[in-house]
Symmetry: C2
Subunit: 225 residues, 2 copies
């Protein structure tokens, strides 16, 4: 197997942190050019033209971080990161989805619609020019706030996002917070439960090792130091 | 169990079509007011304030269509709709995600950012006012086109989206096409594989029975007749 990866991409980090939690070591191939674009060869090689992508030894290409997790969870069930019992599986999925649709997508909207390197690249995976929409910066902030409000309440009675065990719902939660730090938008003080949760998790080996080191333009990210 | 539902919502239809494929019959509760808003009692009852939501007999509330599928797939494994083998599970998930992020979200962006009933409700699940962003109409069209281009190629060699069996990847694909029909944006003629695929699936019992009957303002939807 081989993982097609990009250090900065939060969706790639979802897969890296998952692998390190499981103790899975895979060759990784970074497919980003110095101009911070997926290289042309990759675009022709993988028609969905996004990262992460897991390539199996028979050439099968699995895209989408969630789908890569699903494959790896079948192959490496221990420790379980997507739940064991039906209700647990469903609740982990629901919190993973909220973190994604609200927290990760919210920060991604802020980032892609404001960063000078992403002019005309408002959506991932497109070869067409997609203009930035500055109004999405404000909307992205609403999305993130919405997630933090829910997460703050959830963490009042849970050590991890769902129950007593680290799961993919935690992977996404940590990535939402770190994406915010990279954008200089730390968790507001009105969310002490999220702050203490993050402080407990930030030195976890999988969290540290999967950390994004640089912004797309090469600027180091402070908390990754 | 009880399903909290709204006839028009594509995410609710994802659950209804799934249930009918499995032969699961559940009581449904429609929580939309005549003003096409989630009713206030529901907002207090379910803090995530979205539909669909599956409530278990012990009061557990499972939100997010994907998470409801995950729960039901464990409880009612036959016929499998999320794959059986690891690669099949991953590929169904990946196509389900593309249909969601590009096709369903694309049409939802067009709809929520243009429909007069959704002024100040640009995002679901928020009680705050979220302004419409008209530029998302064009971007939503790009998203849908992107999905259709991929799907057209995939259907050149597959009877269903993944392999030879109906799955949740097909549920989402049919819903993308029907959402487009409701918005008077049918599948363009340049995608004959999608058109013949849809023609084969549109009379499937689960597809017909789960069909949305009316637009949010009460206007009947032609293809639902």
């Amino acid at each position: 197997m081989k993982l097609y990866d990009w250090d900065f991409a939060p969706n790639c980090r979802r897969v890296r942190m998952y692998m390190y939690e499981k103790g899975i070591e895979l060759p990784k191939k970074d497919v980003i050019t110095p101009e911070i674009k997926l290289n042309d060869g990759y675009a022709d090689y993988y028609p969905h033209y996004m990262v992460p992508m897991l390539e199996l030894d028979d050439g099968t290409q699995i895209g989408e971080a969630l789908s890569i997790w699903i494959y790896l969870e079948e192959k490496y069930p221990t420790p379980p990161l997507m739940g064991v019992h039906p209700v647990e599986k469903a609740m982990i999925s629901a919190w993973e989805r909220r973190a994604y649709d609200e927290g990760i997508v919210g920060h991604a909207e802020i980032f892609r619609n404001s960063h000078p390197n992403f002019v005309d690249r408002g959506l991932p995976g497109h070869r067409l020019k997609i203009e930035q929409i500055p109004a999405l910066i404000e909307r992205g902030k609403h999305r993130v706030t919405h997630y933090y409000e829910k997460l703050e309440k959830q963490l009042a009675t849970n050590n991890f996002v769902v129950g007593d065990r680290f799961s993919v719902a935690d992977i996404n939660a940590v990535i939402v917070v770190d994406f915010g730090l990279a954008l200089e938008m730390p968790v507001p003080d009105i969310y002490p439960n999220i702050q203490s949760y993050y402080d407990r998790l930030k030195d976890r080996p999988s969290v540290k090792r999967s950390m994004t080191k640089h912004m797309p333009d090469g600027t180091p990210i402070p908390q990754a130091a």
